[in-house]
Structure formats: C-alpha cells, structure tokens
C-alpha cells in the first residue's frame, strides 16, 4: 500500500506540472500590465523597468517558468506583487480559513447526507423519501451565494434578538482575539524557520487552536462564525451525497444476501448497517472525493459573501489584480488538495472493501 501511495503521488506530478504550466501561461495572458496595476497609471517607463526586473517579469516567459519551477522546489512561491510579501506567508494566513470552512462543510454534508440517503432508500417511496429527494434536487439547483445571502438575512437580521442569532461576516467578532497556542505554551522559534511556519499555520486554524489553548470564548465565537458559511457551502455536496447514498443503497438492498440475512432472523437495523451500508459505501466515498473540487469552487463565492479572507477570495482578487505569484501558488495548492483528496479516497477503498487490492 505504501508503494501504491508513492506511485500515485509520483503520477500526480505530471498533472501538477501541467496545471502549473497552464495557469502560468494563462496568468501571463491576462491583459494589463502588473506594473501599471500596482504603481498606478502614471508610473514612468523607468520605474516600470525597475519593477519588472525586481519581479523577474523582464525575462521571456519560458525562462520565467523555469525559474519559478526551480523556486517552488525550494518551497519558495515568490513575492506577491500586490501585497509585497512572500506568498508562502500569505498561504499560511489564508489557507487555514478555507480548510476550516471546507472541512466543516464536508462534515455537515456527510453527517446529514448519508443518513438522509439511507433513510430514503430504506423507506423508499414513502413521504420521507419524497421529501428528501425533492430537497436534494432543490439543493443541487441552488446558487451557493444566494443561499448564503438568504441565510445571512434570516439568521443575522430576522432572528436578531433570539438565541439563534448568528454573525453574518468575518471569522471572529471584533474584540475577540485568538492567541496562538505556541505563545500560550511558551514555545519560541526563530521567525523564518520552517517549524515556525508550521505552528503558525496550525494556530491559524482557530477552532483547533482554541481547543489546544482551551479558550472557550474564542471557540464559541469561531464556531458561530463558521455555521452559516458552512451550511451554504455544504448544500450541493450534501444533496449529491444523499442522492448517491440512496441509489447505492437501493442497489444493494435488492440483493439476495440481504434477503437471506433478514430471513435468518437478523435485526433490520443490523442488516441495513452491517450488511447493506458497508457494501453500498464504495460509490458514496468516491463521490465524496469528487466533492472536494466543488467545495473549492464554492469557497470563492461563500468567502466573498461572508467576508472570509480565505483561499477562494484571495485567488479571485489576485486574478483581477494580476497578482501572478498568488494566482499560481494558490492554484497549485488547490490542485494538490484535489489530488490528495482523491488519493485518500482510493486508499480508503482497501478498508471499506477488503477484497480490493491496490496494485
């Protein structure tokens, strides 16, 4: 299995390089001069020349690509043109927001979608089934950002003075500060070291960080801020997972061994969960892996609506501002996320179905 994992990771490299080349070329094709975009229309030719030399934009595009690839291998994604800061630092700040949002949404989608699908399949053609499937159909047809706006309106305005009130924007309320766990624990690293970057990254996952530091105020606040965007982002994956669970369960439930299991007197519940669900799980897990892409795309819109400074929003802003280094780095990160998610899915097959051997 380890050999398989390594081979899969190696196979992902050409795809990643392809993505890098495509985004690199595409981002260079975006009309407009980054110098003028950054320094204003009045920037003189001399200033712009210096600017281009500074960011390496004066070299031919293939040379730029070569230099860039070399730097990535060293873990250096270059400097953001717009923020004049290393892209790696910006990644450390922004990626945790999206990871938190994405994982929460995926959790909601799985925890609601799978039971709904099972229930729907077991009680086929009942009122529960009809409601679930109509709900799922509406779920996949809904614009994420529209649902987000409606949720914000309902929970932040209509339910304002009730206990159900939820904040419509941001990751934390004003005045609430998440103290990094490494400071609480008194750890100290040199600012530029890799270890510092890693703990900094972890501490930016506010929920995890507040669990480590046991700061319940921050935890409550962070969770409250995460509920609405996660619900909005989870609708489409939820609906798709529910539908897949239903059809996969229906397929399994009509098999002979299910009837045999029932006939020998096993509890209905045991048959559904131990015999049927386990065998229906394979396509469900596959579809969950595919949803990771949907989540990233939805994150652009959800983060815009809910004022979250995550990967999706910065990528969108970078594209409009022609901030090449950010576009490239974040695209690669998203693609890597996708590749890893699908690898996890393939590896999980072995645990779900012991008959599967990964070659």
């Amino acid at each position: 299995m380890i050999a398989y994992t390594i081979r899969r990771l190696l196979l992902a490299i050409p795809v990643m390089v392809g993505i890098l080349v495509v985004t690199f070329t595409l981002s260079r094709l975006i009309p407009g001069d980054p110098c003028k975009a950054m320094l204003g229309e009045k920037a003189t030719a001399e200033v712009c020349d210096r600017f281009r030399t500074q960011y390496g934009l004066d070299k031919p595009i293939p040379v730029q690509l070569g230099i860039y690839m070399g730097n990535i291998l060293k873990g250096d994604f270059g400097m953001s043109i717009r923020f004049s800061r290393p892209v790696t630092i910006i990644l450390i700040e922004r990626l945790p927001t999206t990871i938190e949002l994405g994982l929460t949404s995926l959790m909601i989608a799985v925890l609601v979608g799978i039971p709904a699908g099972i229930l729907s399949a077991v009680k086929r053609n009942s009122i529960i089934d009809v409601i679930t499937m109509v709900g799922a159909n509406i779920g996949v047809s809904m614009p994420v950002y529209w649902l987000g706006l409606i949720l914000a309106y309902v929970f932040a305005l209509l339910l304002k003075d009730t206990p159900f009130w939820l904040p419509p924007t941001g990751r934390l309320s004003a005045g609430v500060v998440s103290v990094p766990f490494y400071q609480v624990l008194g750890w100290d690293f040199p600012k530029e070291s890799l270890r510092f970057h890693i703990v900094e990254f972890i501490s930016n996952l506010y929920i995890l960080n507040s669990l480590i530091t046991r700061d319940w105020t921050v935890l409550k606040d962070a969770v409250q801020h995460l509920i609405l965007p996660s619900i909005a982002l989870s609708t489409i994956p939820l609906a798709i997972i529910a539908r897949m669970t239903r059809s996969s369960m229906l397929e399994v439930l009509k098999q002979d061994y299910i009837r045999a299991a029932r006939a020998k007197g096993l509890l209905r519940r045991t048959v559904i969960f131990k015999h049927a669900f386990r065998n229906a799980l394979l396509p469900i897990v596959t579809i969950i892996g595919i949803q990771v892409g949907t989540l990233f795309a939805g994150a652009v819109l959800t983060e815009t609506i809910f004022g979250l400074a995550g990967v999706g929003r910065i990528l969108f802003e970078a594209i409009t501002a022609r901030d090449f280094p950010i576009i490239q780095a974040f695209t690669v990160v998203i693609a890597a996320g996708y590749v890893i998610a699908n690898l996890i899915v393939d590896l999980s097959y072995v645990f779900i179905d012991p008959r599967i051997r990964l070659e």
Partner: protein, 312 residues
C-alpha cells in the same frame, strides 16, 4: 389460418414495443420528475419568448419621472392589500428604480441562452475531441485525454474565472469560458461510447466495405453516443446556468444594466438587509430554471439508461 393471424398480431405487438424511440418516450413520460421538469421548462421558455408581452415595464428604463416610486421599494401587490392607488410592482423596485418583476422575466432569456449555447459548443468540441481520442487511440488519445485531465483537475468555476480574466469581463466571454470548462465531460462521454463499439463486428464490416474513417465515425459509431450526450447535456445546462450566474455575480459576466439574474444579485447583494426582495427573486429564478433542467436530465437518464429498466 387462425394460427397465422395469431403470429401476425404477436409480431405487430413486439414490433411496437421494441421501437427504441417509442419505448424511450414512453419511459420518459412515466418519469414524474421528467414531466415536472419538462412542464417547468416549457413554462420558462414561454416566459422568455413572450417577455415583452408579459412584462409590465421596460427592464432597463428607470421609472424616474414616470411613476412616483422610490428606489428599492418593497413589492406592492394589489391582491395582498397594497393600496389600489399605488402602482403595482410584484417584486418591488430595484436600486435604479426599475420594476424588478420585468427584469426577472427578461432574465429568463439570458439564462436559457447561456444554457443552450454553452452546452452546444461544449458538446460539439467535446464530441470531436472524444471521437478522435477514442477512435484513433495511441498518441492522440494520450495527448487529448491528459489535457482533459488537467482541465478537470481544477474546480470549474475557478478555471472559468481565470479564462474570463484573460478574455476580459462580459457575457460572451463568460459563455466561452463556461463552454471550455465543460468540454472534458463530453469528451469523456463520447470517448467511452466510441471505445465500447469500436471493436464491434459491424464497424469492421463497414471498414471492409470501404467506408472512410469519417463515415464510420459519423454514421456507425457516434449515434451510440447520442443518448448519454443528451442526458449529460441536459444536466450540463443546469451547471452552465449556475456557473454563468456566478460569474455575473462576481462582476465578470453580463454587465449592468443587463437584466441577468446573477448580475442583478451581484449589484444588490449589499442591500440584502435593507431590501431582501432584490436578492430573493433573481436567486429563486435561477434555482427554478436549474431545477427544471436537473429534473428533466434525471428523468431522461432513468428512461434511457438500460440498466435501470427493471427498477421502479
């Protein structure tokens, strides 16, 4: 004599029930979701065609100086107790003092246009790529399918955003971006169909009879790909409409004052707390349209997919 008659009637009956189109049509009409989707879609198409007749106001011309209404006024429906002396605005008035109802009606034109054009383009290009890839195999297959992999390893909306940034904002460019992003799905569907029939005896027979590659592909192989393409295309229209609206929402698609639903949502999104009606109706319209295509697509799939024949 009597036996002959019997045989005849049986033959006729078999012939009728085995006609593929008849069978498929009958199955489609047995799908509740397909019928519902079709009805909804027919309704939307009628709205799009007769928008001029139905809409009480011009979708672009502000009502300033024409009527005494202020901007972002809520809906005024006479049936629900709005005073009769005030002008009726079923969905309220937008930020530029235009009748929201008329704008939502006209919006159906853009959505249907977006859906049909992008998917047609994507199917056309996808079919060519998939057919070449599957039929000729080898290097062609490798290059085309790896390129498709790169396109697919990427959230479609993000790729569309990048392409629009290259081409510049606007409805036409957004359409092109969405179409490009959708190509891999159709290329894969066609390639799979081609691969499944390429080695069949009737294809070899056609080749032996001197049929050209083009003739064999077009006449003998590609017809097999039509059913899955129809299903995928119907479902794809829904996605295309959602993506186009999202691009417009972000300011990259149709530009104001075009009455496009995504654009309408985007321009008024900060007003959600003060004028929720301006956000609610365009979004609901997008949802209903996408729902119509999804229901129809699901119904078609259940009707066309032979593996599902004995279910339900």
């Amino acid at each position: 004599m009597v036996t002959d008659l019997k045989v005849n009637s049986i033959k006729q009956k078999d012939y009728r029930s085995n006609s593929l189109w008849r069978l498929t049509l009958r199955r489609i009409f047995r799908q509740r979701s397909a019928i519902f989707g079709m009805t909804l879609l027919g309704f939307l198409i009628l709205i799009a065609i007769f928008a001029e007749v139905i809409a009480p106001y011009d979708p672009i011309q502000p009502l300033i100086g024409i009527e005494n209404v202020s901007k972002r006024e809520g809906p005024c429906i006479h049936l629900f107790g709005c005073p009769k002396d005030r002008p009726q605005h079923l969905m309220g008035v937008d930020g530029n003092v235009r009748d929201q109802f008329s704008r939502v009606l006209y919006g159906s034109r853009y959505s249907l246009y977006v859906g049909f054009t992008t998917v047609s383009f994507a199917i056309l290009v996808g079919t060519i790529l998939g057919a070449v890839s599957g039929y000729f195999g080898g290097w062609w297959d490798n290059i085309i399918m790896r390129l498709m992999d790169v396109l697919m390893a990427f959230p479609s909306l993000l790729l569309a955003i990048t392409i629009v940034s290259v081409l510049g904002p606007g409805l036409e460019n957004a359409l092109l971006a969405i179409a490009i992003v959708a190509i891999p799905v159709y290329a894969r569907v066609v390639r799979a169909s081609v691969l499944s029939v390429k080695e069949q005896a009737y294809v070899s027979a056609s080749l032996a009879l001197g049929g050209s590659h083009f003739h064999i592909l077009l006449r003998r192989i590609l017809p097999n790909a039509i059913p899955p393409l129809i299903v995928q295309g119907t479902l794809g229209i829904g996605t295309a409409i959602l993506d186009a609206a999202a691009l417009s929402f972000l300011g990259l698609g149709a530009q104001p004052p075009t009455p496009e639903w995504g654009t309408m949502l985007g321009t008024e999104r900060n007003q959600v707390f003060t004028a929720p009606h301006l956000v609610f109706f365009p979004g609901a319209a997008i949802m209903i349209t996408v729902l119509a295509f999804n229901l129809l697509g699901d119904g078609l799939r259940d009707a066309i997919d032979p593996r599902l024949t004995h279910q339900k």
